[in-house]
Structures are given as structure tokens and as C-alpha cells.
């Protein structure tokens, strides 16, 4: 019986490998980008075939940004990484898999699309949440994932911090504000997707801190009659970066196609795909075209407020950092 199973299994395996493209790329990405990359991969494969006559198959892997970076460090054969924040790619670069100047190899800090952090609330906004201040009110349950494991959660945290620092003008007050905010968090999921599911499907919490694209997606999936998006007047400019994993791409001989893949993001078509999936496009023309889709939010960057990712990571999310101090209280 076991032999028969083996034969069947071998047959199935053979059948699945019968189709093979000229090139095969593995894109290791974070949680919310699955739909985005399904669209993008299809468009790129068609464009690439048209231009070079070669077929390319792109495989996707999604998970928490940190876990995904860990897998690449441990040997997951990613040709390109498209993660939630620069720090995770820096961690891969620190192991020599990606050139340390990766962020300069592509335009705009190597982040072809951006997003921001918004609030998703239940229909009718029963708790009247309009701005960051409303999140620390007693009795408001805020859903956000764990910044230690989730890239999105780190953007959430830094957005709150940035708001408080700008409003109250001191780091101490910002720390107090963020500590108060996390007092209102009943569930700390490991990933952004987990948090959305907790809020949307399981009905926990009054407000979800989410990527803008993730909030739009949830609204599309579950209906505008159930959830509303509240964009705070001030938030952070989230720049999810992309990079070629040099060591893997060179080893597999896919550097050419991998470079073409990432560069395609900066084309009009690429930018259009980003905009259609509710990521804010970088291209001014496309941005203008989709202007009405995105709320006007005053955006600050991580460099402005925190002096870059390495510093922010060190201060806030390292062991014994500010986030740990908040959770020790």
C-alpha cells in the first residue's frame, strides 16, 4: 500500500513539474502584499515575455516581515525580497546576502510604493474616533500587532509616537502617550493579517491600526456597510522597500530578470498596479490620477522624526528598548 502511495505521489509530482518557465523567481514578501503581487507578477510576466521572448514564473512567499527576513537569512532561496521595512532588509544585508548599499540601487529609497497608517472602525464609528488622541481614551480597545514580530506594527507604533512627539514636543510625553495607547490593546497578534482577522472576523476591539492598503482591502472584502476608514490628519509615510538578494540571484543566474522585475515597479504600469491595490504610487502622474482614492494626510517620514530605521529600531524595538519598557510597566 505504501508503495502504491509512493507511485501516486511521484506521478503527481512529475505532473506538477512538467510545466517549466525559462526563469523562475522567488519573491519573499510580507503579509498584506499577496493580492498586490498576484497582479504585479501577472503584468510583469506578460511584459517580460513581450520584450525578451522569455517566460518567467514568479513564486510568492508571505509572512510576518521579520520571520520572512529570518527565513532568507537561514537559506530561503529568495531572488528578491519585498519587505515591510528597511530594517529587515538591513538584517539580511548584515549577513552578506544583500549589498549594504541596496537602498541606493533603486530610486526613492528602493521603495516604489508607499502607504500610511490609518484607523479602521466599525460602522457608524460608535466610539467617535477621529484622531490619535481618541485611541488613549479609557474604554477604547485598540487592535495592533506585536511590533517585535510585525513590520506593520512597527509603523503603527512609530506613527503614534511621531504624532505625540509633534503634538507634545517631548520624547517623554510621547513615551507616555504610546504607553497609554498600548494599555488599550487587548490582543497582540504576531502579524498585521492576524490583527485584521481579530478585528474584522472575530469582532474584537473598537479600532484597528492598519496599513492603508490593508484597511481598504478589509473594506472591499467585508463591505463598506460594516467598516469605515478614518484617516488621522497626521500620520507616517510608510516606505516598504524592495531589493535583490545578490547572493541568491547570482548563484541562480537570475540577476537580469530580477532587476527587470524590480525596475518594472517604477514604470507607469507598475505604479498603476500599486495604486489599484490601494498603495500610494510614487509617480506624480499616476498619483494625480488616483488622487481621489486616498485621503489627504499630513505625512512625516521616519528620517524626519526618528533619524532612520537603524536608530528607530535600536531605541524602540531592541531588547530593553522603549517598547519593552512600556510592557514592563
Amino acid at each position: 500500500m505504501v508503495r502504491r502511495i509512493l507511485i501516486v505521489a511521484a506521478g503527481l509530482l512529475w505532473a506538477s513539474s512538467a510545466f517549466a518557465a525559462d526563469y523562475s523567481l522567488l519573491n519573499v514578501s510580507y503579509d498584506p502584499t499577496r493580492e498586490l503581487y498576484v497582479d504585479f507578477n501577472k503584468a510583469f510576466a506578460a511584459a517580460y515575455q513581450k520584450e525578451t521572448g522569455k517566460s518567467v514564473e514568479i513564486k510568492q512567499s508571505h509572512g510576518g516581515s521579520g520571520s520572512q527576513a529570518r527565513a532568507v537569512i537561514d537559506g530561503l532561496q529568495a531572488d528578491v525580497v519585498t519587505l515591510a521595512l528597511a530594517y529587515d532588509i538591513d538584517a539580511i544585508a548584515a549577513k552578506g546576502l544583500v549589498a549594504t548599499d541596496w537602498q541606493k540601487r533603486l530610486p526613492l529609497n528602493a521603495s516604489p510604493y508607499t502607504s500610511t497608517i490609518v484607523f479602521l472602525v466599525r460602522k457608524g464609528n460608535p466610539k467617535g474616533i477621529k484622531d490619535w488622541d481618541d485611541l488613549i481614551k479609557p474604554g477604547v480597545a485598540v487592535i495592533t500587532p506585536n511590533p517585535k514580530t510585525s513590520g506593520g506594527a512597527r509603523w503603527n507604533y512609530l506613527a503614534a509616537w511621531g504624532y505625540a512627539q509633534k503634538k507634545f514636543g517631548s520624547a517623554d510625553k510621547a513615551k507616555k502617550f504610546v504607553a497609554d495607547l498600548y494599555q488599550n490593546v487587548p490582543v497582540l497578534d504576531t502579524g498585521a493579517r492576524g490583527s485584521t482577522v481579530t478585528f474584522v472576523e472575530r469582532g474584537v476591539g473598537d479600532v484597528l491600526l492598519a496599513w492603508e492598503n490593508e484597511a481598504f482591502l478589509a473594506q472591499r472584502e467585508f463591505g463598506k456597510d460594516k467598516f469605515e476608514i478614518v484617516s488621522p490628519p497626521l500620520s507616517i509615510l510608510a516606505e516598504p522597500p524592495v531589493a535583490i538578494v545578490d547572493k541568491v540571484a547570482d548563484n541562480k543566474g537570475t540577476r537580469g530578470v530580477a532587476e527587470a522585475y524590480l525596475k518594472y515597479w517604477y514604470s507607469k504600469e507598475g505604479q498603476e498596479i500599486a495604486a489599484r491595490n490601494s498603495y500610494r504610487p510614487r509617480d506624480p502622474d499616476i498619483a494625480k490620477e488616483y488622487e481621489s482614492s486616498f485621503a489627504k494626510v499630513d505625512l512625516f517620514t521616519i528620517d524626519d522624526v526618528f533619524g532612520g530605521w537603524t536608530k528607530a529600531q535600536q531605541e524602540h524595538f531592541s531588547e530593553g528598548g522603549i517598547f519593552d519598557q512600556i510592557y514592563k510597566n
Binding site: V2, L6, R34, S61, G63, D74, G194, T196, V197, F222
Partner: protein, 323 residues
């Protein structure tokens, strides 16, 4: 010692036998019935000393059944209710997705390899342990049992430490372009680890109980070792062997934590069914997620049915008239 007592055929056969003996003796399949169907007062009078008053019995049964219903039956029902919540068409559409197919194929492949290898190992180990006496036997059995109590996450972690690019053998493997982690070999390895004890532990008590006389007789009649095994031992242990393979297979197809650590989650390539359940769940595709989950739940149910049948067979196998 036994970790899975459920797989200890010696116990089970005992249970079946004493069931049969005690059934007429207690004289009241209705004794515990909360309603109606009173039997002779004689039986009850006699059993007064040996059983509890009616209300106590009633409370115990209600407690037991409520507990099992809430904690065991309802979760199972939820799986199917959710899977079919949008109707049959949505259910089968979810299962027809290429990603679902590749997960099913991968799960079957991984289970086939790891169960096959553990089958061979289990028989070898059981032969050495059950048919011979040596010092350190208990220690050896403890080592075989160890994966039962090791957290699946740790099982995944140790293979990352060994075969990860930063691990002990990682650089060598990379230099030779061999992918273990985040590919089928890694998933197979952790699955073998977590299912390691099942076959051996199902066979050892059975083979110990059967002793060595039949085999010794065969040898003295001139049979070779292999002939003895295939003609004498195997027919005696076949149901126990199937039993071990069955439980081993259920665990192999269902393993989540360990596989999650070493999978890499490549769509359509390294996601097994349990991993796909989590992924789809996190993508708001609840029907799809529970559809895959329902396949795994059905696997569990089939496992239980076959297990019950096998236990009967094992019980019969105890009777000398069997062969």
C-alpha cells in the same frame, strides 16, 4: 512504559475482553440510562454494593458527555459548518484551487516518505528491542519516546540550527547547492522527527507479548532470518503494524508547528495542508481555510474508524484460532 496507551494493543484487547465479560454480568445496559427501561430489581439490588446511586450515575454521565461534546465534538462540527457555510459549490471551488492541490500533493508526498521510513525503522527497532534482552533497553525506549514530549517548535528549531544557512551544516550545503530547509527534504525531516515513535511503540509491546518461540521454531527448522520475519513474525504483527502506520500517518499529515518553522511558505510549493489552513484563514478566505481543514478533519475521522476496526482485529489476533 507507554506514551500512547491508546496504541498499546495488549491493553486494548484486555479492554474488549472484559467488556464482553462484564456486559451480561452487570445485567443492565440500562442501569445508567437516565430515563425509562427499568430492568429486574434483582440486578439492581445486587449491583447496589458495586455501583453508585442512580442520580450520581446520571450526573457522572451527563458531565462526561457534556464535557466531550463541548471540548471535542463541537470544534469538529464547527469545521464542517464553516466549510459548507457558503454552500457546496464554494466548498468544492475552494478545493479545486491550484494552491490547495499543490498543498494536498505535498502533504501526501511528505507523509508517504516519512511514514515509509518510520515504518522500516519501527520494525527494525521493535525487532531489536522486543526479541532480545540487553542492558539499557529502557533508556533506548525513552529516547525513542522523546519526540512525543518535545515541542514541535523545538523540532523545527533544531533542524534550522543544523541545516540553516547560519547553521552547522548550512555553509557546506549551500556550497554544494543542496536545499534542505525551505524545501521538501526539510519538511520530511521534521515530519520524521515528530512521528518517530509511532510505529515502534505500537509494535514493541505486541512483539514482546508474542515472545520468540514461533520464530525460534522456524529458525530451527532451517528458515533464514528474513524468511522467519516475513512468514512468521509479520503475519502476527500485521494489524499492530497497520495500527502504528495509521497513527503515524495522521500525525505526519497534520503536523503544523514544526513544519511551519522550516517551510518557507512558498506558495504552491512548500505549503502543506495545515499551513495552508493558517494562510487562507489569515487571508479572509474562511470557506477555503475550513474546506482544507475539513479534509484534514475527515482524515482524522477515517483514522478513528480504521483504528476501531484494527483494534477489533488486534483483539481477534490474540485468540489462538486466528491463523
Amino acid at each position: 512504559m507507554t506514551i500512547i496507551t491508546a496504541s498499546d494493543p495488549a491493553h486494548l484487547s484486555h479492554r474488549e475482553r472484559s467488556d464482553r465479560v462484564s456486559d451480561p454480568g452487570e445485567g443492565s445496559s440500562s442501569a445508567a440510562l437516565p430515563v425509562g427501561n427499568r430492568k429486574t430489581t434483582v440486578g439492581i439490588a445486587r449491583s447496589n454494593s458495586r455501583t453508585e446511586p442512580g442520580p450520581v450515575r446520571f450526573v457522572i454521565i451527563v458531565l462526561a458527555l457534556t464535557f466531550l461534546t463541548v471540548f471535542v465534538v463541537l470544534p469538529l462540527v464547527v469545521v464542517f459548518a464553516q466549510a459548507f457555510s457558503k454552500g457546496f459549490i464554494a466548498y468544492f471551488a475552494a478545493l479545486a484551487e491550484p494552491e490547495a492541490w499543490s498543498a494536498i500533493k505535498l502533504t501526501l508526498l511528505v507523509a508517504a516518505i516519512s511514514v515509509g521510513l518510520n515504518l522500516v525503522f519501527g520494525v527494525l527497532a521493535a525487532w531489536a528491542i522486543a526479541k532480545f534482552d540487553f542492558s539499557g533497553k529502557t533508556f533506548l525506549i525513552t529516547l525513542i519516546d522523546l519526540p512525543f514530549s518535545v515541542s514541535p517548535v523545538i523540532a523545527g528549531l533544531v533542524f534550522v540550527l543544523l541545516f540553516g544557512a547560519q547553521g552547522y551544516f548550512g555553509p557546506w550545503l549551500q556550497a554544494h547547492n543542496i536545499n534542505v530547509l525551505f524545501a521538501v527534504p526539510g519538511i520530511v525531516l521534521v515530519t520524521i522527527f515528530v512521528t518517530f515513535p509511532f510505529v515502534a511503540r505500537a509494535l514493541i509491546p505486541l512483539m514482546q507479548e508474542q515472545g520468540t518461540q514461533e520464530e525460534e521454531a522456524a529458525i530451527s527448522l532451517g528458515a533464514s532470518g528474513l524468511q522467519t520475519f516475513f512468514r512468521v513474525t509479520l503475519p502476527n504483527i500485521k494489524w499492530g503494524l497497520l495500527y502504528g502506520v495509521l497513527l503515524c500517518n495522521a500525525r505526519a499529515m497534520g503536523e503544523f508547528g514544526a513544519v511551519s518553522v522550516v517551510s518557507g511558505h512558498i506558495r504552491g510549493e512548500t505549503n502543506t495542508m495545515p499551513l495552508l489552513v493558517e494562510i487562507l484563514y489569515n487571508e479572509y478566505q474562511f470557506v477555503s481555510s475550513f474546506a482544507i481543514a475539513s479534509l484534514l478533519a475527515m482524515l482524522a475521522l477515517i483514522t478513528l474508524v480504521v483504528k476501531t476496526v484494527l483494534e477489533r482485529r488486534l483483539d481477534e489476533g490474540q485468540a489462538p484460532s486466528d491463523h
